[in-house]
């Protein structure tokens, strides 16, 4: 038991040290999960995309996208994502896809728009497929937008969709509801949020720490 406490303590210290380093010195991945519905308990993962971020770069060329193999017809949402049943039948087996994802993103920090949802879907799918995976931490671009709106006076009616959020930073509109586009779009939004924050806090010359960025993105 004493050993266990020591281990936890060491991990905690490690985390504290990590939190003090620059947010740019760790590996980030922007991800997007497409599902056939918004109920994380009921609905299934249709496709998954991930793209590495090495601030200030989103490594577009290294982005990955895969459709999950499904035999039975699915609900309407597949239509929204423009996935045909043929595409779904030819998709990648869930376990194989998740293993590939886990390997690529092991030990990285994950960025998503409405991260809570992606996290729940992924956790469920991982459990289902028997893949073990643990991210270092999460950053939710949507949560940041909500905080931003709350800090602003006067309050404005904001849409927090990915495209509306991007538009607030002057980022170009992109074709939505495709996991790869959304992951890349979310990655760019993440960079815009952090760099703007850095400027607002007059940190010219010194960068935000990982801890500061993660706190903001909770």
């Amino acid at each position: 038991m004493w050993q266990g406490v020591q281990q936890t303590l060491r991990a905690w210290q490690q985390q504290r040290r990590a939190a003090k380093q620059s947010w740019r010195s760790v590996t980030w991945f922007a991800i997007d999960c497409e599902t056939d519905g918004l109920d994380t308990a009921k609905n299934a993962l249709l496709s998954l995309a991930w793209v590495p971020i090495e601030p200030p770069f989103v490594r577009l060329g290294a982005s990955q996208y895969a459709v999950v193999q499904h035999q039975q017809p699915l609900s309407q949402s597949a239509v929204v994502h423009q996935l045909t049943s043929a595409e779904l039948q030819q998709g990648e087996p869930l376990a194989q896809l998740l293993q590939r994802f886990a390997k690529a993103t092991q030990g990285a920090y994950i960025v998503a728009h409405y991260a809570e949802f992606d996290r729940a879907i992924l956790t469920k799918a991982m459990r289902q497929a028997g893949v073990s995976w643990q991210s270092r931490g999460w950053y939710d671009t949507l949560a940041v937008e909500k905080k931003q709106a709350a800090e602003k006076t006067p309050r404005q009616q904001h849409s927090f969709s990915l495209s509306a959020s991007r538009a607030r930073y002057g980022l170009l509109p992109m074709a939505e509801h495709h996991a790869r586009n959304d992951a890349i779009g979310c990655g760019e939004l993440f960079l815009a949020q952090v760099y703007r924050r850095q400027r607002r806090r007059k940190l010219a010359g010194s960068e935000l720490t990982l801890g500061q960025v993660l706190r903001r993105g909770r």
């Binding site: 770069f57 577009l60 990955q64 930073y169 002057g170 790869r180 990655g187 400027r199």
Partner: protein, 627 residues
């Protein structure tokens, strides 16, 4: 392919990625990153020492030189970073972030691999680096007219220079020869006309028909001197002018033989209506014939109303056939010339011949032969010295008739009152000279403009010799260092935009989404080229001919001339295309909508603006300082 398809297809259409083969393009895609470019991230890149190729997706950035000059505004679709990649030297210019955004980037390693794999890809960057984006392989534009004549590349016969189609050299006879000798020479040489000379000077022309009607039918003796039956002082045309111009003159004066002279007024040949008819029929000819045949003002106005439609169809017929869209400017000017001459003829029919000799002058775009469908009138009258005030009445009437007539034919009145109806533009050479000298003395913006209009003219009708003398004189006056310096300084008060989208809008400019390429581009270019032409004492007005004459000048390097020509051609072409394409109703004339340009056109437009900006600084340096 590890990219979303919308971005991939966008990159596929962006020069120079459009020249890569599929394999190399896939390589470019796999190695592409999206960078968030802000002041902070720029610092991070500088600190890391990495050299990258950048393509702007969003945001606005300024390229700034070491001495803090803003060289270029970088906007969506612009490439930067390649000069240091190409030269291997340290980065000297810096990027100022005006608005954060996303830029796509490639590492030096990837850039060099792509260069090695694709020569066309490399060539684009080498050309962009040496500012050659307006060169031939990107824009199909004609080379400068050479000494030999205008537009070597002209494929449409109407703009061919006359010198190109002259069948043979002039067949001439001395004035003292008899009509028998003339007839013998004509049949021996198998020609239908002879030029009559005194020594080397052209005195007249005698034709088959003259022999028939003035000699045989009148029963004259065959020993009669040819000088007695010739047509004296015939209309002539310069060998550098176009077939189209020859046709307008023949139609105008109802003649079938037109003597052709060189720049020293030496006869070089005769062009006949048959020579012209042997060339294929084309729309401008049909249109011109209709204008010539007009028997009165009403018919002329009705025919002129067809011009816009004719121009549209002519332009359509040019697509893919003619590389030089600027011939449209020449065509519109020729039509304006023809209408003007026709109106003058109508007036003379109604009010008798002119009481003294005169010249009708064209200014501005009509003079330069780069008129657009929107161009306003710009004309004036030169009246013989010693004219009486009652004789002036005749010309006041002429001016009113012609200007009203032109307006009725669709060429709007001048908003600057630069018209013969304005007494200020209806003067004797003596009065012109006095005014001119006064303008030169006062030397403020307004009088400078007046003097520049006056200095830039083309003869349309009347007495050509009266005009030439006057023109030579004005040119001599203009070669005054103080005057040239004033123009150079005036030009430097005009603004050239550095960006296309994110520009500072003046409060008066409610059409801020559009870019006025006349005001901010073509007009400044015209001023610059006019300044050099004045300095060199040139009397030709069209820009291509001016630039070609300026090749002899020590004031400009061949490269500077080439750059000016390319910029002029590009902007003129863009303006004409925009004027003939679908426009929104509230879009002011001479403006373009930058969002409707292709990526390459935007880069070229910026390259053209940069040429103008540099030329502006150049004239300030060359002419601006006078003690």
């Amino acid at each position: 392919m590890n990219m979303n398809s919308a971005d991939a297809s966008l990159l596929r259409e962006t020069p120079p990625f459009d020249v890569l083969n599929d394999l190399d393009f896939a390589f470019a895609l796999e190695n592409m990153a999206a960078m968030y470019l802000s002041t902070e991230s720029r610092e991070e890149i500088i600190r890391s020492g990495s050299v990258l190729l950048y393509l702007v997706r969003s945001g606005t950035y300024d390229l700034v030189s070491q001495d803090n000059r803003r060289l270029e505004r970088l906007e969506q679709g612009d490439l930067f970073g390649f000069p240091s990649l190409l030269s291997g030297r340290a980065v000297t210019n810096r990027i100022d972030v005006v608005a954060d955004g996303i830029v796509w980037t490639w590492t030096a390693d990837v850039f060099h691999k792509l260069r090695q794999r694709s020569p066309a890809f490399e060539r684009y960057f080498l050309d962009a680096h040496s500012r050659r984006l307006l060169r031939e392989h990107y824009v199909t534009h004609p080379a400068l007219p050479t000494e030999g004549g205008l537009a070597e590349h002209a494929t449409d016969w109407t703009i061919k220079p006359i010198s190109d189609v002259l069948q043979r050299s002039a067949v001439c006879i001395q004035a003292a020869a008899t009509v028998r000798e003339a007839a013998e020479l004509m049949s021996q040489q198998q020609v239908s006309s002879l030029l009559v000379l005194k020594n080397k000077t052209l005195l007249g022309i005698v034709t088959d028909r003259d022999m028939r009607e003035r000699v045989v039918a009148q029963g004259l003796h065959y020993a009669t001197a040819v000088a007695d039956i010739m047509t004296q002082m015939p209309h002539v045309i310069d060998c550098k002018e176009s077939l189209f111009d020859a046709l307008t003159l023949m139609g105008q004066w109802n003649i079938h033989h037109l003597p052709v002279v060189d720049e020293n007024d030496q006869p070089v040949g005769v062009i006949t209506v048959n020579d012209l008819m042997q060339q294929q029929r084309s729309e401008p000819v049909v249109l011109l014939r209709a204008l010539f045949k007009a028997s009165d003002l009403d018919v002329l106005i009705t025919e002129a109303a067809q011009i816009p439609e004719y121009l549209q169809s002519f332009l359509r017929s040019l697509v893919g056939r003619v590389r030089d869209i600027t011939i449209l400017g020449r065509l519109i000017s020729s039509l304006t010339d023809a209408i003007t001459r026709k109106l003058i003829a109508f007036y003379e029919q109604a009010h008798g011949a002119a009481p003294v000799s005169y010249a009708w002058l064209a200014f501005e775009s009509q003079a330069r032969q780069d008129q657009t469908p929107d161009s306003e009138q710009a004309n004036g009258l030169l009246l013989a010295n010693g004219i009486t005030s009652s004789e002036r009445q005749w010309f006041a009437g002429l001016a009113e008739y012609v200007c009203e007539g032109l307006a009725a034919c669709g060429i709007p009145f001048s908003s600057h009152q630069l018209m013969a109806v304005n007494p200020q533009w209806r003067m004797t050479p003596l009065e012109w000279r006095n005014h001119y000298q006064q303008w030169l003395r006062v030397n403020n913006g307004e009088t400078l403009l007046l003097s520049m209009y006056a200095a830039d003219s083309r003869f349309i009708a009347g007495n050509k010799y009266l005009y030439r003398q006057h023109r030579q004189e004005l040119v001599r006056h203009a070669q005054n260092p103080h005057y040239l310096s004033a123009i150079a300084r005036y030009i430097n008060t005009l603004t050239v935009p550095i960006g296309l989208f994110y520009r500072i809008r003046s409060s008066a400019d409610k059409h801020g989404d559009y870019l006025d390429i006349k005001k901010h581009g073509i007009a400044i270019l015209n001023q610059l080229i006019r300044l050099y032409s004045l300095a060199e004492g040139l009397t030709v007005a069209p820009i291509p001919e001016r630039l070609s004459s300026l090749q002899q000048s020590e004031l400009l390097t061949p490269e500077e001339i080439e750059n000016l020509h390319e910029a002029w051609y590009f902007l003129t072409d863009l303006r004409l295309q925009s004027q003939f394409s679908q426009r929104t109703v509230d879009m002011p004339t001479h403006t373009i909508d930058p969002t409707r340009l292709t990526t390459m056109q935007r880069r070229q437009l910026k390259a053209a603006f940069r040429v103008i900006k540099e030329a502006k600084q150049g004239v300030l340096y060359k002419f601006g300082r006078v003690l």
